[in-house]
Amino acid sequence: MEKSKISLYQLFVLILLFELGSAILVPLASDAKQDAWLAILFGLAGGLFLFWVHYRLFLYYPELVPPLYMQKLLGKIAGTIVAFCYIIFFMYSAARVLRDFGEMLLTFAYLETPLFIVNALLMLVIIYAVSKGIEVVARTGELFFVFIYFLAIVGFILILFSGLIDINNLKPVLENGIFPVVRVVFTQTLYFPFGEAIVFTMIFPYIKKRNKVKKVGLFAMMLSGINLAITMAINIGVLGVDLTDRSQFPLLSTIQGIQVAEFLERLDVFFMISTVICIFFKVSIYFYAAVASTAVIFKIKEPSKLTYPMGMVILFMSVTIASSYAEHLKEGLVFITRYIHPLFLILIPILLLGIAFLKNRKKESPQ
């Protein structure tokens, strides 16, 4: 895996697919009611800042992956412990996204299939892809990216021509002031999905043209944020606030409403294909980050050998983390975003950047 080389375009595609990932599936920021799109855009602004933090850290240690510079910054033992926590965090996140995928299929299409089977089928593909290295995942991403955008644009046009969007559903803007929106930003959208871009710190060292990482990364984040905001605005425009909030998968309900010219209808498969693809990449990237970190910490020469055992752990974890979908959501939206995400996505990176700044103060500036 160490020999991989990622082009800037591949990085762009990976970030975009990763950010859309499971965020496009759920009623993102629905607590902000009709201002969900605003909450997403504010979350994006925070996410861009966090991305800049990761990027600065990368500039201090352009050759090293995070577990190694953590050991340099925090000392051998403390750095290893923190890096190890990140491995668990990445694996848990991968399991969560995999569970999202399984729940989506089970709720909507495969009512009688066990969750384990559905998850196992996707996980096997992911294990195979990651065992071949991140370059393979990135090249797959290039292929599917075009496909996803084609689906998205066709879907958007069809929704538009169905005359489903009622712009009045988005009014009044900021009904209860800015406070509820800001609350949603700090309890949800800042971390999920934008803060999660931290996994890309594992990929930065493999990029060919390092001087353009910032530009491409920020651009990909912005595009994904705008896409999510538009998607959520359309969902609310079509379904209204109440229905969006009550839907397990609002985008699915929106697409089900499409009826153009008496024969273009029941396009649920649009939703299915795009979420399966996006989730494949999200789980793959989390999984890759976990595997690569483990290989670095424990000095394993052939990381691809780790993929099968670790993949099995993620698969079993995805089935056992919650007994019901409601529990799964509660865990993800309340516990994780309140206690785990702020620590792993904000505090530790900023702390690391602070230490890096102090340690490198006397040397010349990283640029």
Partner: protein, 405 residues
């Protein structure tokens, strides 16, 4: 090398088990495709569901030639239960197949049931189910049981549920006293505090028992016929009143759902002397607060042609057309005023004035919302401005004159 080949073959065979997609397969011959679902309540207070099941072998044939036999294109199965899911499952004792709801596009609810309890209880299982489409159309069985609407055979559209839906959609387009409301729209309106539901009724005339036989479709004039009824006004999810004719059309005008209709205009003492064929219209509703009281302004823009005249008028004269436009505007305004009066008397805001106020004055709306229908809505003052245009008069300008000798 050899072990690798064995492993490959093993994986190959194992994956066929998973990839065939046969986990919970249902053969087409095991499915009963439900086209329409009628829901009544019996004397014991249990729900009774009547499912219109498509009999595929008998739908084709006739015009397309060959294949189809002479039997009816649909078959009816009923089930009862304390809940919708229960009644649906209980039908399995009478049916050799599994009910399949993915193609259900019509839900018929009996008038009695809609008056007695909120229809949201019925809509919940339908909305929750993954098979059921939220685009299914809702109608109320007016003056009859829901089962009767589902049972009657129809001649031109072989599947009765299609006939009901197409009738509603077409009459909405060219006559405008009925609307086709989808399940999703209905739920959206029920949950909104600033809007109430209005759903079309569907009626059946003649002898339903005769309507159930194939003879009904073999006559030029069916013994029993399904037709669109009045517009049912709801309050808190319960049916409270039916409105007809021009009042119903005024309501559809206000909902901005009307696309074409014909309006009769009086001229010089002669009733309905001129027919105005509306071809498009746009209604804008906006609300504001006037000294703390909600005030709604309604702007209607209508465009159309002259379709018929029974008085000798000079249609070459644009000034006359302007005068006529004034009369048309008066007529439209009258219909809208009638609709508003009925709704206000009924204390149910089917036009969404509350939602309009919510958009412009969110703060004040929050105080009014809990008592909107009962206290504020009946007192709402409205300003109606109608702009009607006569664009053309058809292939002739002046009407022909009978030469009276």
């Amino acid at each position: 090398m050899k072990s690798k080949r064995i492993l490959f073959i093993l994986v190959f065979f194992v994956s066929t088990l998973f990839l065939s997609g046969c986990w919970s397969k249902k053969e087409l011959t095991d499915l009963a495709i439900v086209a329409a679902l009628g829901i009544d309540k019996n004397e014991q207070g249990r729900y009774v569901g009547t499912m219109q099941i498509i009999n595929p072998g008998n739908v084709t044939g006739g015009m397309q030639g060959g294949g189809g036999s002479q039997g009816p294109p649909i078959s009816i199965v009923t089930g009862s239960g304390d809940s919708i899911v229960e009644l649906s499952r209980s039908t399995s004792r009478k049916l050799s197949r599994r009910l399949y709801y993915a193609h259900t596009n019509l839900i018929v609810i009996s008038e009695e049931l809609a008056k007695e309890e909120s229809i949201s209880a019925i809509l919940d299982p339908l909305e929750r189910d993954a098979q059921f489409r939220s685009t299914a159309i809702i109608v109320i069985a007016q003056g009859t049981k829901a089962s009767n609407i589902v049972k009657v055979l129809t001649a031109i559209d072989k599947i009765p549920s299609n006939k009901v839906i197409k009738t509603l959609k077409i009459t909405e387009k060219i006559w405008g006293e009925n609307i086709a409301v989808s399940m999703q729209d209905a739920i959206k309106i029920i949950v909104s505090p600033g809007k109430e539901l209005a759903v079309s009724g569907f009626r059946v005339n003649g002898d339903v028992d005769k309507g159930k036989t194939m003879e009904n479709t073999h006559q030029t004039e069916p013994a029993s016929l399904l037709f669109a009824g009045s517009l049912g006004l709801f309050k808190n999810g319960k049916l409270t009143q039916w409105v007809n004719g021009e009042t119903a059309r005024g309501s559809i005008f206000l909902l901005d759902k009307l696309s074409a209709t014909t309006i009769g205009v009086d001229w010089e003492g002669k009733d309905e002397a001129i027919s105005y064929e509306l071809i498009r219209q746009k209604t804008k509703v906006s609300a504001k607060l006037d000294k703390g009281k909600p005030r709604v302004s309604i702007e209607v823009q209508a465009e159309g042609n002259i379709g018929e005249t029974r008085v000798p008028l000079d249609f070459n004269n644009p000034h006359l057309l302007l005068k006529l436009e004034k009369e048309i505007e008066k007529e439209i305004k009258k219909e809208i005023t009638m609709a508003i009066k009925i709704a206000q008397k009924n204390k149910s805001d089917i036009f969404g004035f509350g939602e309009a106020l919510h958009r412009t004055n969110p703060k004040e709306w929050r105080k009014m919302a809990p008592k909107w229908n009962d206290v504020y809505f009946p007192e709402v003052k409205t300003d109606i401005v109608v702009d009607a245009f006569i664009r053309r008069t058809g292939l002739r300008n002046n009407p022909h004159k009978v030469n009276e000798k």
